[in-house]
């Protein structure tokens, strides 16, 4: 029996993780308005460089897990500390992503619902999938990935139908530092967080050509995000900065002929799956890293307690969308520099020194 992820399953997990940042696009649109399409284009070169660093980090030790790579470079205790740092980062990012999505849902769709009623079923479902293991996650990922690909293309086509090219201009960037921080923050959100999927390279088919497959999948997933960002500007123009979720607003005003309108619930539920997959993959990395750090045979016993912990933290994290936007733009870029740039570079340099 094949105990590794097929290449297509890995591709779909990467694709779903890319689409998971679609909701966080609202942060860029709220803070930058029409300039968001310039910002997202600026993210691409930095993001590709960041991803190349991540791929280099994992392709050097293709058969090793994140924990084993760290232990090889820093020794047993140092490796354990670095792995726990990664686990803490992925835990925090899962809480932030689901909190943002949860607050968005209870603010816009389920208005009288308490956040915990949204979080509890989501985390229980995530815990169930985590206990089933990565192969099951890969199989459901391929299924939902296909549905989401079709829905994304359909949504994009309908969005382009109501677009007006004059909405792209004028682009006013009043606060240059704020713009730069937004670009860096979204680069980490859109590209940096794919590091969690890269850490599964050792669990994917060993014949997979790492750089080619990963870069093409990222191009597909994040290419769709870029197209969505531009389509939203084309549809909403200067009114974009008034929206907390411009993407939701655009989907709300489009219809398919006279027989289908207000399709936002359909599309929002589809993107909910992508968000859940992003959190699922991040928490899989958390469970795996913690299990190896504590010397456990399998990560499955950690699925429920890690999800319960994440639920508690997510619930306590924040009560408003405004606060999360402030956090992502002002604090998040500094936090992400450690797991995505400093630690991988240190590990590569240290392991080269150890090899010599």
């Amino acid at each position: 029996m094949n105990k590794k992820l097929h290449t297509y399953q890995y591709v779909f997990l990467l694709f779903l993780n890319c689409l998971g940042s679609l909701f966080l696009l609202g942060i860029l649109q709220r803070s930058q308005g029409v300039a968001s399409w310039v910002a997202i284009l600026c993210c691409i070169p930095f993001g590709v460089l960041l991803n190349l660093l991540g791929l280099w980090f994992f392709s050097r030790n293709r058969e090793l897990t994140l924990y084993e790579i760290n232990v090889n470079a820093f020794g047993t205790i140092g490796g354990k500390i670095v792995t726990v740092l990664y686990a803490l980062y992925f835990f925090m990012t899962s809480c932030v992503v689901l909190n943002y999505y949860g607050v968005f849902t209870v603010d816009l769709i389920l208005r009288d619902t308490d956040l915990i009623f949204f979080l509890a079923p989501s985390f229980l479902a995530i815990a169930y999938a985590l206990r089933k293991g990565l192969l099951t996650i890969g199989r459901i990922g391929a299924f939902f990935g296909t549905i989401l690909l079709v829905l994304s293309v359909l949504a994009l086509f309908t969005e382009w139908r109501i677009s007006d090219i004059r909405n792209l201009f004028p682009v006013n960037i009043k606060d240059k530092t704020g713009f730069l921080m937004a670009v860096v923050a979204f680069t980490y959100v859109q590209f940096g967080e794919l590091f969690a999927v890269f850490s599964m390279i050792n669990e994917a088919d060993s014949r997979m050509r790492i750089f080619k497959v990963n870069l093409l999948s990222i191009l597909l997933g994040n290419g769709l995000i870029v197209l969505f960002a531009i389509a939203d500007v084309l549809a909403l123009g200067q009114t974009m900065q008034l929206q907390y979720a411009a993407f939701y607003r655009v989907i709300r005003i489009i219809d398919w002929g006279e027989f289908m309108n207000r399709i936002e619930v359909l599309v929002v539920s589809a993107y909910f799956l992508a968000t859940i997959f992003r959190v699922l993959i991040n928490l899989h990395v958390v469970c795996k890293s913690l299990a190896q750090t504590f010397g456990m045979e399998t990560e499955k016993p950690l699925a429920l307690p890690v999800c319960a912990c994440a639920m508690g933290f997510t619930n306590m994290l924040s009560g408003t969308t405004f606060f999360i936007i402030q956090y992502i733009i002002a604090v998040y870029p500094y936090v992400c520099t450690v797991p995505f740039i400093i630690l991988p570079l240190l590990t590569i340099l240290k392991s080269k020194a150890v090899q010599k």
Binding site: D114, I116, F117, A120, L290, A291, F294, G295, M296, E297, P301, L302, L304, P305, V306, A308, C309, M311, G312, F313, N315, M316, L317, S318, G319, T320, F323
Partner: protein
């Protein structure tokens, strides 16, 4: 709100008991400590539901 917290307590107790019965010593420490943190957070939330808003205002 209380229903969710009580549900999580029940799930936590079942999970901890299963872990203890299996006698895998390496599993006990992380599982029990993670559950303790989770249940502590949920208890704080159940007792003070406005805590996130208070914390955010302070920040």
């Amino acid at each position: 709100m209380w229903a969710i917290v009580i549900l999580m307590y029940i799930i936590g107790e079942i999970d901890i008991k299963t872990t203890l019965k299996k006698r895998k010593h390496r599993e006990i420490v992380p599982v029990v400590s993670l559950w303790s943190i989770a249940l502590l957070l949920l208890t704080i939330y159940a007792l003070f539901p406005y805590m996130p808003y208070i914390l955010n205002d302070t920040i």
